[in-house]
């Protein structure tokens, strides 16, 4: 019985999803001739050797992503690519394809000058998951509070406003928190290194003051519209109430990077 209903359920939802399935059927690029073949011919690396390097790069990036610190090209070259350096563009492109095709992740270069990468999810967590796709750490909540504050205040907030707001939530700047440990370090160092936040000195301030902005990872990972919807929910208001913020969220939504 359950089988039948499952089958019909799947059939019902299929037409709407056909795009997804078509996407899946895109040619397996790994077996296609690629632009790097010219280079390959010049060097003495076999396709199998390149294949192996691609796999190692994927493995390396996955391991480096454990702590969510962005990955630098220099490190990929130093630890994995090594003598295959000449093949780097081809290798990293293929690694990106593997992330998309196997894991449903995007390998995004967030700094094209210094070549820094992060992984961003192409799939979204959904309600009704039998097991959560992302068993969130309480730190996500803390990060959200700070990011939402910045966004709602027009993109920049002074450090003091962040700490004053957190104080109301029983999180104190200089006090060890049960779940977050050294909060000051988490907020001004860890989140900053992960590129969720930017923490910059305000010039000409005495005593020294800092302000927070969204980091490059937050811009890639966080949906401003979903954020605004939750803020609206909390205030019992429509997201459109905050006209400017709504406009910005909608514009990002319609022009995804």
């Amino acid at each position: 019985m359950s089988q039948r209903s499952a089958g019909s359920g799947a059939r019902r939802s299929r037409p709407g999803r056909s795009q997804v399935i078509l996407d899946d059927d895109e040619p397996d690029v790994s077996s296609q001739p690629s632009s790097s073949q010219v280079q390959r011919a010049r060097c003495s690396f076999t396709p199998q050797q390149i294949e192996q390097k691609v796999a190692e790069v994927v493995q390396f990036i996955l391991i480096k992503d454990q702590k969510k610190i962005p990955i630098r090209r220099a490190d990929v070259v130093k630890h994995v690519v090594k003598e295959y350096k000449g093949q780097y563009p081809g290798i990293i492109r293929r690694a990106g394809q593997t992330f998309e095709q196997v894991f449903g992740l995007n390998l995004v270069e967030i700094d094209s000058k210094n070549h820094v990468y992060i992984l961003v999810n192409k799939l979204h967590p959904l309600p009704g998951e039998p097991i959560s796709m992302c068993p969130g750490s309480p730190k996500t909540g803390l990060l959200f509070v700070i990011l939402s504050l910045i966004f709602m205040k027009g993109g920049t907030v002074k450090e003091i406003l962040v700490w004053n707001t957190l104080k109301k939530l029983r999180v104190y700047e200089g006090v060890k928190h049960e779940e977050f440990g050294d909060v000051k370090k988490l907020v001004t160092d860890v989140f900053v290194r992960q590129k969720y936040l930017e923490y910059v000195r305000i010039p000409h301030t005495e005593p020294l003051e800092h302000e927070f902005r969204w980091g490059a990872r937050a811009e890639q990972e966080v949906s401003k519209m979903k954020l605004l919807q939750f803020i609206g929910e909390l205030h019992n208001e429509e997201p459109q109430t905050w006209t400017q913020q709504y406009r910005e969220a909608a514009s990002v939504e319609s022009n995804p990077r």
Partner: protein, 274 residues
């Protein structure tokens, strides 16, 4: 064609990455959820086929979704494991060097024990003699907690055991490192860390607790299935599992039919191994 990965497979894989290990009933529910979410064909009994599609893609990346039995509840679980030991895999940043050394020492203690457990006292004691960097008692407790949280160890009343996830990923490794200490369960033939050992010293076969419970269920006078000596241990009760248990039991039985579980086949298995 059906070997191609779709978003349903990717969602399943991502959930495996986040959770590390899931029970087979969770895997079934997740399989269904993933297929329905992405409009992929779903058939209830095809979980393993579905997983094998993912595994085909993971294989070149030294990863694998592997099935194994829990030594605690006797149920099947799936774990996403790493299969490579390279300079790259050593760069994992989850634990510091001394924390990893503590893990190895804990594993030594557990594998070396008869019943597959190590007491927190013993582990705390060996934290003093770490070569990398000593851990204070308090730090050791913290690290042990982290191992439990990350599902590498289980803890009940100060006794630590290797988790299902750990055994699934580390089985080959343990066979290499402790070739003479690792036994197979006499009943289900899988690797056995936690279990009861036949008191007859020349026999000394090991049986998982859930396997003991099933094997001796309803017998008033239990005897060792190998040497026929009296089985001196307390026989645990078969736990009241859901219908799931029956499924996994039947699959367990199926595996057993691959070869009659007489002592001679077991012996050949063993000699082949070493």
């Amino acid at each position: 064609m059906s070997r191609q990965m779709g978003d349903s497979h990717r969602r399943f894989l991502q959930t495996m990455m986040s959770n590390g290990v899931i029970s087979s009933s969770q895997a079934s529910a997740l399989h269904r959820h993933c297929c329905e979410t992405h409009g992929a064909h779903y058939s209830q009994e095809k979980v393993e086929d579905f997983i094998s599609v993912i595994n085909a893609q993971l294989q070149p990346l030294f990863m694998h979704i592997r099935k194994g039995m829990s030594e605690e509840d006797g149920l099947d679980y799936f774990a996403l494991v790493n299969m490579a030991k390279t300079d790259i895999t050593k760069m994992s940043s989850d634990y510091a060097d001394n924390e990893l050394e503590l893990f190895r020492k804990t594993m030594d203690l557990i594998v070396d024990s008869e019943n597959g457990t190590a007491s927190s006292t013993d582990i705390l004691n060996c934290a003093d003699s770490l070569q990398t960097k000593k851990l204070k008692k308090k730090e050791t407790e913290h690290v042990l907690n982290k191992f439990v949280q990350d599902k590498w160890l289980n803890e009940i009343e100060g006794e630590y055991t290797l988790s299902t996830r750990c055994i699934i990923e580390m089985e080959q490794h343990m066979r290499t490192i402790y070739p003479d200490l690792i036994k197979r369960c006499f009943v289900c033939h899988n690797i056995a860390i936690q279990g009861q050992i036949c008191e007859n010293a020349v026999c000394g076969i090991k049986i998982h607790l859930p396997c003991v419970a099933r094997y001796f269920k309803g017998r008033t006078d239990p005897h060792c299935p190998s040497c026929n000596d009296f089985w001196t241990h307390e026989i645990p009760e078969v736990q009241q599992y859901s219908s799931q248990t029956l499924q996994s039991q039947s699959s367990c039985a199926k595996e057993n039919t691959a070869g009659p579980s007489t002592s001679s086949t077991l012996a050949t298995r063993r000699s082949r191994r070493s």
